[in-house]
């Protein structure tokens, strides 16, 4: 167990023992390699298999909306999770006073798909050490620099440090390469329209409509999603081009000004579909036009909720 894990565990234990929180949300040891499991500790006895490492790929803010507002929630937050929580507070999904955020400066999440692409899908064991990762399969052993395996969202992370956590454990880390996000949007935007549409079609047509992207996203907490509507039906029910493209366009659009680019949607997808190339575009648009970056505080309304008469000179017809 690493030093960081030990400290986090001790803090979780303290919060639970002193009854400062009703539940502590963290991770526990995986059953199958690569996927530590989100865990919900209500008692410090349960902390035995507590784990925290770079393979913890889920955005824990997802689970915030599952509890009634009165529940006192303690949770581990990385930079992106902290911003998600902030934005959920803006959207009144949980009161700030009932959340205790234990911040962890994040060195980035390893993308399990990058690992399986390099080592095959049959992975028997993974060992993590600072900056290095060793992956074992039944026949081989692979070593990687942690940089190679970072998820794209983490490789371009602008905010790896928690910004409004109640307590931060660990030394702050340098932002990764935020310019990369803009470069990516520019590079994609620089392609011809035909190429961009081909790319989008290629990505969206693999969709099996399992909605793992939706369920992994902390911002997707609607009681009923637009695709689940029976009457009126907003989109085709089949895995047809029309149905899948609508899903990918509208899912992304519903995140406008609400996405923190944590990449949880991509990491949840079983079909390796890339999605953040769309949401990053929306994020850059919101930043350029409205100087809005989601989740930097827990007060500012997102652009679609904060329109004013000042807009009248915008969008001159």
């Amino acid at each position: 167990m690493t030093d960081l894990e030990m400290k986090l565990k001790a803090e979780a234990k303290r919060l639970l023992d002193e009854h400062l929180v009703d539940v502590f949300i963290g991770f526990r040891k995986e059953n199958a390699p690569l996927h530590p499991q989100p865990a919900f500790f209500t008692n410090s006895d349960q902390l035995d298999d507590f784990v925290y490492n770079n393979l913890c790929q889920n955005n824990l803010a997802k689970f915030l909306t599952r509890y009634p507002h009165e529940t006192k929630i303690g949770m581990i937050v990385r930079g992106c999770e902290n911003r998600s929580v902030n934005h959920l507070i803006v959207e009144r999904q949980h009161p700030r006073e009932n959340i205790i955020m234990i911040g962890v400066p994040c060195t980035g999440i390893y993308d399990w798909r990058k690992i399986t692409q390099r080592c095959g899908e049959e992975i028997s064991d993974v060992e993590l050490s600072p900056g290095k990762i060793t992956v074992k399969t039944s026949k081989n052993q692979f070593e990687f620099e942690s940089k190679e395996l970072l998820h794209v969202s983490c490789a371009r992370c602008s905010q790896p440090n928690p910004i409004s956590a109640d307590l931060v454990i660990g030394e702050p880390v340098e932002p990764k390469d935020p310019a990369r996000a803009k470069r990516q949007v520019e590079t994609f935007g620089g392609m011809t329209a035909k190429a961009r549409y081909e790319w989008f079609t290629h990505e969206s047509e693999r969709c099996i409509r399992c909605y793992a992207c939706r369920e992994a996203c902390p911002m997707c907490y609607c009681a009923e999603c637009f695709v689940d509507h029976g009457a009126p039906r907003w989109t085709e029910s089949m895995v047809s081009k029309a149905g899948m493209q609508t899903w990918h366009i509208i899912r992304a659009f519903h995140q406008t000004g609400r996405c923190v680019d944590c990449g949880a949607c991509e990491r949840a997808c079983p079909m390796d579909i890339r999605m953040t190339y769309i949401t990053e575009k929306l994020n850059t648009d919101m930043e350029n036009e409205y100087q809005f970056i989601c989740g930097m505080d827990d007060k500012t309304q997102p652009p679609f909720a904060a329109f004013t008469m000042d807009d009248k000179t915008r969008f001159v017809a």
Binding site: F200, I208, V239, I250
Partner: protein, 147 residues
């Protein structure tokens, strides 16, 4: 639809045409290739409507609403403008031609403008030619590996 008569869907805020003659014209005398969807305000236009129109084979979508200060519901159109323009940019990002979505913000003295706007739009769409992007529900069934 012939190449000279592209399908156009007009989303119209029911308050934006101040002259009765204009409103009568869009309701009764639109050419066959143009389809009217009358809404209570541009704020009612869900971007899904626009996408649905395009997927169903519209070559162009025109959104006609009131100028900012004169919204019947005070600020419905202000919210709509933020949303719809962001949606237009998103579609452009994935390869759609942004000029196929056109906004017209009407003022009180704009009698007769809607006819002109639609005529220009139609002409521009003819110049652009048929769209191959996002037209995915028409004709028939096409799709990915699952079909």
């Amino acid at each position: 639809m012939s190449a000279n008569q592209p399908n156009i869907v007009l989303f119209q805020c029911q308050w934006c045409l101040y002259a009765k003659t204009d409103q009568d014209w869009v309701e009764n005398s639109l050419p066959e290739n143009m389809h009217l969807v009358k809404t209570s305000c541009t704020g009612r236009i869900n971007p899904l409507f626009v996408l649905n129109a395009i997927q169903g084979g519209a070559e162009g979508v025109m959104i006609s609403g009131c100028k900012p200060e004169i919204c019947h519901f005070k600020e419905g159109n202000i919210g709509a403008r933020r949303q719809l323009s962001a949606f237009q940019k998103l579609l452009t990002h994935i390869g759609f031609d942004r000029s196929r979505i056109r906004f017209v913000w009407m003022d009180l003295q704009d009698t007769g403008r809607i006819q002109k706007e639609l005529a220009t739009f139609e002409k521009d769409l003819v110049d652009l030619g048929q769209s191959a992007v996002l037209v995915t529900r028409k004709p028939g069934f096409e799709g990915g590996m699952h079909d």
